[in-house]
């Protein structure tokens, strides 16, 4: 039998496969990192924290059903931290303390500390884009207080705190509280002309309710310059067209003591700059649809009342948007990308404008037009009337 051709094929196949053996990573040799926290200390050094899965502990906590007294959070992960002159310096120092190789490709969140946010986050971006294990879909958050406390925080529902943080951030996005900012988005906001970044803020509530992600940090360049409160944060989402769902509690026209709750079903926006006789106008159109989910007043529903509610809703949305704009203008951070919009529509004018955008932006004339539609009213029509004698 002639084995020559088979041998040839085998040798070629081997050549293809064996080259990778240098890079083999056995699963029980790696420490899977799920969260990484970065801050600066009082000196010039970076503080780096990692949250690493403890392989033996994760399954146990989950299979217990009701957890009772057993705290699953800190048990299932190992939180370690150290300092270094660069991020990777600190990262390597951490690796030295570990029994396994750190593996960053499954990282879920990156949390920046307040000191770092104030001093500028751009230097950290190099590590997160150059290192080949890092991925651009990782969420970014700013810690309200200590990064370490957040990484050591107890999750309420998930076994792994980082996963809970990620999911909470996603719910906050679903319900129009904050925008989700991934590394890729942050890099875009940092590098694009006429745009400043916003990043959601995470806090650990003292009353042990878990992770809170309900506000956003405003960045001027790469430094945190202010904070959008809950309402302002939604104002930002209205303007940038990222509002998804969530509810709006508005006072009933004609019955100012009782609230009506509306649930947002869809929203979009358009930012159109206009330069007329040397003056710049920003026209924003917000298009929103909602449905009525709860009515505490005793008013009968009617097309007229729906119209009133629509108008009131438009006003509330407009006010939230205006509040966000005022806050951004106060710290001179163009988080909505108005400059970017001008750049796109008026590239020639932008070349002159961008030099002074820092001074133009705070005094921009912004017109907001809100179109709201109220569509449905749920399974009941009129509110309950209690029969009083």
């Amino acid at each position: 039998m002639n084995l020559k051709p088979i041998m040839g094929v085998l040798i070629v196949l081997m050549l293809f496969l064996v080259g990778g053996c240098w890079d083999r990573k056995e699963i029980d040799d790696v420490a899977i990192m799920v969260a990484i926290g970065v801050d600066k200390d009082t000196g010039k050094k970076f503080k780096v924290f990692t949250q690493v899965i403890r392989p033996g502990k994760v399954g146990q906590a989950g299979s217990e059903g009701s957890r009772g007294k057993k705290e699953s959070g800190p048990e299932s992960v190992w939180v370690a931290g150290t300092t270094g002159v660069t991020l990777s310096d600190a990262y390597r120092r951490l690796s030295v303390q570990s029994s396994r190789f750190f593996f960053a490709a499954d990282n879920q969140v990156i949390i920046f500390g307040p000191t770092l946010a104030a001093e500028g986050i751009a230097p950290t971006m190099d590590f997160f884009t150059r290192e080949y294990q890092q991925r651009r879909r990782v969420l970014i958050l700013i810690a309200q207080d200590e990064v370490k406390d957040i990484l050591k925080g107890n999750p309420n529902q998930e076994n792994i705190p980082a996963l809970e943080i990620r999911e909470v951030a996603m719910r906050a996005y679903d319900f129009s509280r904050v925008d989700l900012v991934k590394i890729n988005d942050l890099l875009y906001m940092l590098s694009t002309e006429g745009r400043d970044p916003v990043v959601p803020i995470i806090e650990l509530r003292k009353d042990q309710q878990g992770f809170f992600i309900q506000s956003m940090g405003i960045f001027k360049g790469d430094r945190m310059a202010g904070k959008l409160t809950q309402a302002e944060s939604r104002g930002y989402l209205w303007i940038t067209g990222k509002a998804q769902r969530g509810s709006l509690a508005i006072k009933t026209p004609g019955d100012e003591r009782n609230f009506v709750t509306l649930s947002i079903t869809r929203a979009k926006s358009k930012i159109e700059p206009l330069i007329k006789e040397g003056e710049i106008f920003i026209n924003i159109t917000i298009d929103e649809e909602a449905e009525l989910v709860e009515d505490l007043s005793a008013n009968k529903l009617s097309p007229q009342r729906f119209k009133l509610l629509e108008q009131r809703q438009a006003l509330v949305i407009k006010n939230e948007a205006l509040a966000a704009i005022r806050k951004a203008q106060k710290v001179k951070a163009d988080i909505f990308g108005f400059g970017e919009a001008v750049h796109r529509s008026y590239p020639k004018e932008w070349r002159k404008l961008k030099e002074n955008w820092n001074d133009i932006f705070p005094n921009l004339k912004v017109n907001i037009k809100v179109i709201t539609k109220l569509r449905r009213s749920g399974l009941t029509y009129d509110p309950l009337k209690v029969n009083k004698y």
Partner: protein, 366 residues
């Protein structure tokens, strides 16, 4: 005259070979060069370069048509006379070897940076050259058939990736168009033009194509589809990352594939895409290897090319390892490519064509 390569391929296969000759390294190393110059108009620069590529192909086809039975190494001496023809032939062989050394190094550097970071460069290079040597020994027909299969995977995966990445794309980031006029777009088109000048190999494939009349159409299709695919890639890259960030990326298309996520469960497609890409670049290396060996054999009037495979492999591996000290030297060299690829791959054949037209020298028809 001895026949060194007895195989024949179809015009369609030749078009596929042209496609594989150009796209693997272009897809990985072109993006940063083009986006840095043309910014958000990178896709326009790519289309402009494709126009140039189509003109190149027309030129090569016109030249090859005059000597349908011979490769450029053979008819160069007939048109230019022996001394000058031999000089030109030597330049072409040198270029094919040097280009291949760059390609092999590009493969090694990419794998070392993004996929196999621990593996020594020399191991990657020796294995790929070893595989290419084996393939070259099998001859043109085998390579052409493999190209058909590999292209199918490459194009399929590229289209799938483009479709899936659409989720992340903001097409508005492609605006404004022609922000700084036409100049940056033209400068951005230079890089891809260097890659398209590799279409020179049409003058070597030509005599081995069975239905030569249809070759022109299929090679235009090959070049055109490269242009469209890469232009779509540029559009996706800019609309996902934004022009400033896209220009900073070492391997734009690779980062693009990495960012794909379908509802959070279909992620990390890059491993599959890299598999197809490695198959593609392996074939690209094999092709250049084959042409260099074939050209050398014809240049010296040898009866076979197989004895040349081993020495050529040693030269290729050595050259690709020693040519650049590190990746910055490689990238700097790549930015310099258009300034000698286009003169040597395109202007010299043009010169030969003009002289042959003026002197009326033609080869025998099939």
């Amino acid at each position: 005259m001895t026949v060194i390569e007895g195989g024949k391929i179809s015009a369609k296969q030749a078009g596929v070979l042209l496609f594989i000759t150009i796209i693997p390294t272009a897809a990985v190393f072109l993006p940063s060069l083009v986006v840095l110059e043309a910014r958000q108009d990178a896709w326009l620069a790519m289309l402009l370069a494709t126009l140039g590529g189509l003109i190149f192909i027309t030129l090569f086809n016109q030249l090859a048509k005059r000597f349908p039975q011979e490769t450029i190494f053979q008819y160069a001496t007939k048109i230019l006379g022996k001394p000058l023809g031999k000089v030109f032939g030597l330049i072409f062989i040198f270029m094919l070897v040097q280009t291949n050394a760059i390609i092999i190094r590009e493969f090694g550097e990419f794998m070392n940076t993004a996929v196999l970071t621990q593996t020594p460069l020399i191991v990657l290079i020796v294995t790929i050259v070893g595989m290419a040597a084996y393939t070259v020994g099998k001859g043109l027909e085998v390579i052409a058939r493999m190209a058909g299969i590999i292209m199918f995977f490459m194009v399929g995966l590229a289209l799938l990736a483009l479709l899936l990445v659409f989720n992340e794309a903001h097409l508005v980031r492609l605006l404004p168009v022609f922000e700084y006029g036409l100049k940056p777009v033209i400068r951005g088109a230079l890089g891809p033009m260097a890659w398209f000048s590799e279409g020179f190999v049409l003058t070597i494939i030509y005599p081995y194509v069975a239905n030569q009349k249809r070759l022109f159409n299929s090679s235009l299709t090959g070049i055109g589809s490269i242009g469209v695919l890469l232009a779509l890639g540029f559009m996706a890259m800019v609309s996902v990352f934004g022009a400033p960030e896209a220009g900073r990326l070492m391997f734009g298309n690779f980062s693009l594939v990495r960012i794909i996520s379908v509802q959070g469960f279909l992620e990390r497609l890059e491993t599959i895409v890299i598999m197809a890409w490695v198959a593609g670049i392996y074939l690209k290396i094999s092709l250049f290897y084959y042409w260099a060996v074939l050209g050398t054999a014809q240049y010296f009037g040898l009866g076979y090319y197989r004895p040349l495979i081993l020495p050529m492999g040693v030269i290729l591996a050595t050259l690709s390892v020693t040519m650049f000290a590190n990746i910055t030297e490689l990238i700097e060299h790549l930015t310099f490519l258009p300034y000698y690829f286009i003169p040597l791959y395109v202007v010299l054949p043009l010169l030969i064509l003009v002289i042959s037209l003026l002197s009326g020298k033609k080869g025998a028809d099939l």
